[in-house]
């Protein structure tokens, strides 16, 4: 077991990084403040305009450079919008003209004013745009002060970048192999830096929290584990040694496991399982293919809707879905219809003030309530279905009526598009995400109407055990191997088998190699997981038999606690896969 890390954050991109810190200290930008004379006003304003011009040129270059390598150029859109906006320039110029401030000071003041203004707006999606304005203004300030934006361009090789937050433009300048890792104070698994780090295969830990940049001296020795979220600053020799070993093992195994990526996941006794990938944004598609996903088992459409002011329109959704369907074809893509609770949607769509959003207006319920939003999404999906193999998945279903509603809407939209002569795929499946205990209990009824079932273990588990895993007091109870949870899953699998429809699993339970045999024994035909988990699961499946998996299942079926089940499963699997279980599964 690893000794406790000094700081921990969100495990954002797998891998081990060891190296000196390269600390991006934003506060180094000291804004010069002085008054200018009337005679210098016009030249000062010209200087400001030139700096805007230079910034625009610089950002455009970075963007086109990124697009050339197929990376997300569109994340710069908001920044360009603000760079072009007259308010920022004119108000700054006014301060130069009327208050006789130098350009840097004037711009900084204008930034403060805008940030306060945005902060005061109640809507969180507008408030967040503050960051974009901040990024843009910082670059203009740097241009004004004749500083090359320090960015990440000129840094030495092999460093671990430490920053409060990294703008896409910063990360975009990094070349593969140049940076050993990223560590940031802010961020989540889906922030720009996390997504880009994963696609560059650079280990990253984000969301460590405030004070990191202060704490880490430039050049300090760091050890980072992007799978566990651990960060060590100047670790003692025994920790350093352990990280060296983790790194060697990680690289060795990663290379070894990639050989399994393109092989079918078929057990020794001939049972074929399909391994699919869960994704949230299209930038993850190349990863899926590289790790050998045989389809997308869950495309969460929420990211299209989050962190923005307005809903994406039909055209934008259509383009997003089409891109993924095309990139993955002829493999299938399961697109889940919008599954957001009141806390994540633009405020006008969802209901405010729900005391218990997890059990509130979300998933199919919200789609029923806001039918027009649902229809736009279905229309975009069906139009995109002409470009690949689409399977639509309805979240949070707990009754037959809700499924029927989804089916009726899909049929209605299909007829409408048909009348307009729009091209569509003709084998679009409609499935149910089984994630409420009620849906699990009526799985055999749902299975008669749905084309497939997909078990969403994250929510099924939270509702079954009545455990909110975000609540630190009860998180220890959140245990996928709970006998009650296993029995529900078994029930769903039986229902699927009887009705002859495919049963898949797309929750995090499928990621963990420890669960692999149990899921194999239950006969789940499709497992969908994080792309990087696929090679290991594939290897285990290819080297196992369903027979031995069933033996294990028979053994654990009557055990009364998750802990016992976990112990027996870990025993059985680590006997068969000693190397993988020692090295790859970091937690016990």
């Amino acid at each position: 077991m690893a000794p406790d890390a000094e700081r921990t954050g969100v495990a954002a991109s797998p891998g081990i990084a060891i190296g000196p810190a390269y600390v991006v200290r934003r506060e180094r930008l000291i804004i010069p403040e002085y008054r200018i004379s009337e005679a210098h006003v016009s030249s000062e304003i010209e200087r400001l305009e030139a700096a805007f011009q230079e910034t625009r040129k610089g950002l455009a270059e970075i963007r086109s450079g990124m697009e050339a390598t197929g990376l997300l150029g569109n994340i710069f859109d908001a920044q360009f919008l603000f760079l072009e906006d007259p308010t920022l320039r004119e108000q700054t110029a006014r301060r130069i003209r009327e208050e006789h401030l130098n350009a840097e000071w004037a711009l900084q003041r204008e930034l403060n004013r805008l940030e306060a203004l945005f902060e005061s707006i109640g809507d969180p999606y507008i408030r967040e745009r503050r960051t974009d304005i901040g990024f843009v203004v910082r670059r203009v300030l740097q241009a004004l002060m004749g500083r090359e934006p320090r960015g990440l361009r000129g840094m030495p090789e092999g460093v671990i970048v430490v920053a409060d937050n990294l703008a896409p433009a910063d990360v975009a300048q990094v070349k593969a192999g140049q940076v050993a890792g990223f560590v940031t104070e802010a961020g989540s698994r889906t922030s720009h830096v996390a997504i880009m780090a994963r696609s560059l295969e650079i280990p990253a830990v984000v969301g460590i929290g405030a004070g990191l940049v202060e704490q880490v001296p430039d050049g300090a020795q760091l050890s980072v584990d992007g799978r566990t979220g651990e960060l060590w600053i100047e670790p003692p020799p025994e920790v350093l040694e352990e990280f060296e070993q983790r790194r060697r093992q990680f690289l060795l195994l990663a290379r070894h496991l990639l050989r399994y990526a393109d092989l079918p996941a078929e057990t020794r006794d001939g049972v074929r399982v399909f391994l699919h990938a869960n994704i949230g944004v299209r930038e993850e598609v190349p990863d899926c293919l590289r790790y050998g996903a045989e389809g997308i088992g869950l495309y969460r459409t929420e990211f299209l809707f989050m962190n923005r002011a307005a809903l994406p329109d039909e055209e934008e959704q259509f383009q997003a879905y089409r891109e993924i369907l095309e990139a993955v074809a002829p493999r299938s893509v399961v697109i889940r219809t919008l599954d957001l609770g009141g806390d994540k949607l633009p405020s006008h769509v969802a209901l405010r003030g729900e005391a218990n959003p997890a059990m509130g207006m979300r998933g199919i319920r919200l789609s029923q309530r806001r039918c027009e939003v649902f229809r736009i999404q279905l229309r975009a999906m069906l139009r995109a279905s002409a470009y690949g193999r689409l399977r639509v998945l309805l979240p949070m279903v707990s009754s037959l009526e809700e499924f029927d509603f989804g089916r009726d809407e899909l049929d209605a939209v299909r007829q409408e598009l048909d009348r307009r002569g729009v091209l569509m795929g003709d084998e679009v499946e409609l499935g149910v995400m089984v994630e409420t205990p009620a849906a699990a209990m009526i799985a055999e009824l749902l299975a008669r109407r749905a084309d497939f079932l997909s078990i969403g273990t994250n929510d099924l588990l939270q509702y079954t055990l009545a455990v909110d895993r975000g609540n630190e007091h009860v998180a220890y109870l959140y245990e996928p191997l709970h006998p009650g949870h296993l029995r529900l899953i078994e029930r769903i699998c039986q229902a699927g088998r009887r009705a002859g429809v495919a049963v898949g699993m797309c929750g995090e339970m499928a990621n963990d190699p420890l669960h692999c045999w149990i899921l194999l024994a239950l006969g789940i035909g499709e497992l969908s997981m994080a792309p990087s988990s696929i090679p290991l699961i594939k290897k285990i499946i290819r080297e196992s038999t369903v027979e031995e998996a069933r033996e294990l299942y028979a053994e654990v079926l009557d055990l009364g606690s998750a802990e016992e089940i976990r112990k027996v499963a870990a025993n059985a699997l680590s006997r068969r896969f000693p190397v993988e279980f020692e090295q790859i599964v970091p937690k016990g």
């Binding site: 908001a78 919008l81 603000f82 906006d85 007259p86 308010t87 920022l88 004119e90 805008l114 203004l117 945005f118 707006i121 109640g122 809507d123 999606y125 507008i126 745009r129 304005i133 923005r308 002011a309 307005a310 809903l311 329109d313 039909e314 633009p346 006008h348 769509v349 027009e372 939003v373 736009i376």
Partner: protein, 90 residues
């Protein structure tokens, strides 16, 4: 020449980033200076930042003022845009 008109923001999401961007796109086609007023607050009609910070949600009454050679056309085009909910789908 100065021209003005009152209208009510009716789209679902109010004057958000996208709606503001759509507004600026139309406003930029005209030579006239364009402002949007919400009560006493004035925003430059050609600035997304200024428009967004008006925080005009659905149901807010705003006044569009154009001043310049093509003020008539500008006000007509912009009130139309608001009436069709900035071309949003929902």
């Amino acid at each position: 020449m100065r021209k003005e008109a009152e209208c009510v923001i009716q789209n679902e999401l109010g004057l958000h980033l996208r709606a503001a961007a759509a507004f600026v796109k139309v406003a930029d086609r005209f030579q006239s200076d364009i402002s949007m007023f919400r009560d006493e607050d004035e925003a430059n009609g050609k600035s997304i930042i200024a428009l967004v910070t008006l925080a005009a949600s659905r149901g807010t009454a705003v006044r569009i003022v154009a001043d310049g050679p093509d003020a008539d056309d500008a006000v007509a085009a912009l009130t139309h845009l608001i009436q069709v909910d900035f071309g949003e789908d929902s």
